[in-house]
Amino acid sequence: MFSGFMVNAWIVSTLVAFVGGAVGFFIVMRGSAFVAHAIPNGSFAGAAGASLVGLSTLIGLGVFSLAGALGIGLLTRRGRHDVATALSLVFMLGLGALFLSFSVEYEPAVLSLLFGEVLGISNNQLWPTICLTILCLLVLGLLWRPLLLDSVLPDSTRGIDPFKLELAFLGLVALTTTMTVPVVGTTLIFALMIGPPAAARAFTARPGLALALSITIAVAIVWGAIAFSYETYWPIGFFVGAFSACAYAISRVAKAARRT
Amino acid sequence: MAVTDEYALRVDHVSVELGGRPILDDVGFELAPGDLTGLIGSNGAGKTTLLRVILGLLTPNSGTVAARSDGSRRSVGYVPQKFLLDPDMPLRGRDLVALGIDGHRLGIPRPSRRRRELVEEMLAAVNAEQFADTRIGRLSGGEQQRILIAHALISRPRLLLLDEPLANLDLRSAREVVELLGRIAHEQQIAVLISAHEMNALLPVMDRVVYLADGRAACGTADEVVRSDVLSRLYGHRVDVLRVHGRVIVVAGDSDDAEPTHPHQHDHVDVF
């Protein structure tokens, strides 16, 4: 399990889990679940389009994620974002399906984009992933305090303009999406970014500790998913979804138990 | 003013306990048709609970509620306090009023001349003709209030209950609604019960008052009930009632127990 090509897989997925758990912590704190659900959907189209044109999927993911993030940022400003954003997201998925339908590898491409594909991570992806990780962590470090402040006192006039902060945060989610999707898939990245932080929050209220716990749980989930996937040949997405759901369920039970 | 001796609603020794806490304690009163009665009490005094008991949505631990021609719910009209009116909701004012006729029945309404006339009549009665064709979600608070009143009235109830109708209205709309309700009560001989935490807005049209404090009630005319001795007995500690320029102000005095007065406990200045 730890030989040759698997080394890449372990490294990349650890980085992915690290960043996913960290950024997910803020997603849960800010109540931006919808955003975390929306951006990966949009990036699906980007990855599909990029593969069609022959570019690296990472670029397609990146561009569409950022565009999607900006789009959502602007749309949510206008208030009722239900229908317009929902339809646009679905349109993105349809567009992605369209692009993929042009390629010979229609079905496998769809499945791996949606559900992730760890075992196919080549050396090409190693270095971009490392760079993106560093970038994400840098941005997260910069935004750490403003984000904390904003979530506790949303109408505070000190510090960064909330709209700009929101955009910066969306950009961060876009970056995270870009590096996470190739491993976990667009439909499951959300689970990875929600389950671990929710579980962490159920066990501690201190932000630093919760963040560390969130990352730890995320990494544990991904490691477990890889190990199980390697042994059973079942898709990694299944394990990520299942383990994240378990983590979330445990957090709900713990919260309920605490209340009695 | 009531013109008959019959009652429209009789509440008899009603007590309600929720979650171990007593909410209503031996409440009893009668409403006569044509009387407009204010159900006054601060938040948490039990007004909404009492209304729910009257509507049959909550069974009291003891006591009975009897409404004339009981059994059929349509004898009681109800205007709730909160309603989620989505601005996109495809219901015009007149559609919602029409639903008052038979909205509880399954199926789609069959348009008929009789329905249309009835709806027009109700809309006229509440002065809602101008905005009857606008979506209810786009109306102002006062306009929605009037539509809901028409909706409640169209089934010709004997009793009309309103839960805090004035809470979110500006002064002018509040005054209009109060006048309208007074007119409805007296002209159509309907017993109207309005819950509010602010009594002064209702004073011009209020015939009787049911004053709720700590789950206990005092009933009668405003002069009979809103007095220092009556309210002091009700609250269980000293209360002074002042009348200033036709407005009523209820002031809590020092409480008898040793607890320090705190601005956020219930013995603070209640300005009514």
């Binding site: 109540g31 679940a33 659900h37 239900d82 229908v83 929902a86 339809l87 679905v90 349109f91 349809g94 567009l95 399906a97 369209l98 339908s101 042009f102 769809v110 499945l111 949606l114 898939g185 439909t187 499951l188 959300f190 689970a191 929600i194 389950g195 929710a198 898709p235 997405g237 299944f238 990520v240 979804g241 299942a242 994240s244 759901a245 979330y248 | 949505l57 719910r73 349509r74 109800y78 709730p80 309603f83 989620l84 989505d86 996109d88 909701m89 495809p90 219901l91 015009r92 559609d95 639903l99 909205g103 509880h104 029945r105 399954l106 199926g107 789609i108 309404p109 064709d133 606008t134 809901l148």
Partner: protein, 291 residues
């Protein structure tokens, strides 16, 4: 006239039995989905519709694994999920978005698993795409009686629920005071939504199924004040987008890339979005009285 028709419609469209079947099924499903969708949008339950669509992916793929038609899978899991949602009271739950997202993740995880197991066992291709993104042209005619039955049933349910559901949607308190069994009505409606989403998943795929549910409905709601017109308009838009999508997909067989054809679901979803945006333009004019 003939020339124009020939220009728009590539040969064989009207005579193909696949197309005829697709037109009937697609039309029926569009009517049901958009009708239910009017209530969905107005009750602010779009997220539930989306959740059901994505959960349906797991249902469809499990059906595929077992070897039965995907429609049963969609229906089965949607009804189960809708019941669960009603029991949990998910529309009122705090952290509802989080819970929905986790369920989505689980649903898709299961879908991934079932699809994988299914493809390795039966060695057929195309099923995953069909379940996820639909393939209206390739539906076997055995689906037709089922679709007709469920569509008719759902439409009948909607008509029956119409008045009390409107009341409940305005104010559950008010409806309760009038003797309407609020919980029952809400549950019945959620079931109708589950079936509508399942049918929609059959035609345009589980992942895209919400488009038919909320798109035409939201568009219709922008266009008219009157309730019955909203439903008619929604149905019209839904059917129009579906049929036009079918036509374009047929024509696209001759577009680049050659001999491939673009997916029907792509066209339907795009048309739905276009219709919605177009209605936004119209709305610029002040809308006062009933239209």
């Amino acid at each position: 006239m003939h020339a124009v028709l020939h220009a728009i419609v590539e040969p064989g469209f009207f005579s193909s039995s696949n197309v005829q079947l697709a037109v009937v099924i697609g039309g029926l499903v569009a009517v049901v989905a958009s009708g239910v969708g009017v209530f969905t949008v107005v009750r602010g339950q779009s997220f539930a519709g989306e959740a059901l669509g994505d959960i349906g992916a797991a249902g469809g793929s499990s059906a595929y694994l077992i070897g039965i038609g995907p429609l049963w899978g969609f229906l089965g899991i949607n009804i189960a999920a809708a019941s669960a949602m009603e029991l949990i009271g998910i529309q009122r739950a705090r952290g509802r978005d989080l819970a929905t997202g986790i369920v989505l993740g689980l649903g898709f995880g299961l879908a991934a698993l079932f699809l994988y197991l299914g493809t390795t066992e039966s060695n057929t291709t195309g099923a995953p795409i069909q379940i996820l993104f639909g393939s209206l042209f390739l539906l076997p005619s055995s689906n037709l009686p089922l679709v007709v039955a469920f569509a008719a049933g759902t439409i009948a349910t909607l008509i029956t629920l119409y008045r009390p559901l409107m009341l409940v949607s305005v104010s559950p308190e008010l409806a309760a005071a009038r003797g309407v069994p609020v919980r029952l009505i809400s549950a019945a409606y959620l079931l109708a939504m589950a079936v509508a989403v399942a049918l929609s998943a059959l035609t345009i795929g589980a992942i895209l199924s919400t488009a038919l549910l909320i798109g035409p409905a939201a568009t219709a709601l922008r266009l008219t004040n009157r309730p019955h017109r909203a439903f008619l308009a929604a149905a019209g838009i839904g059917v129009g987008c579906t049929w036009l999508g079918l036509l374009l997909a047929w024509d696209s067989y001759y577009w680049p890339p050659p001999r491939n054809g673009w997916p029907v679901s792509f066209f339907v979803v795009t048309l739905v979005l276009v219709a919605y945006l177009a209605s936004g333009v119209r709305r610029r004019r002040p809308a006062v009285s009933g239209s």
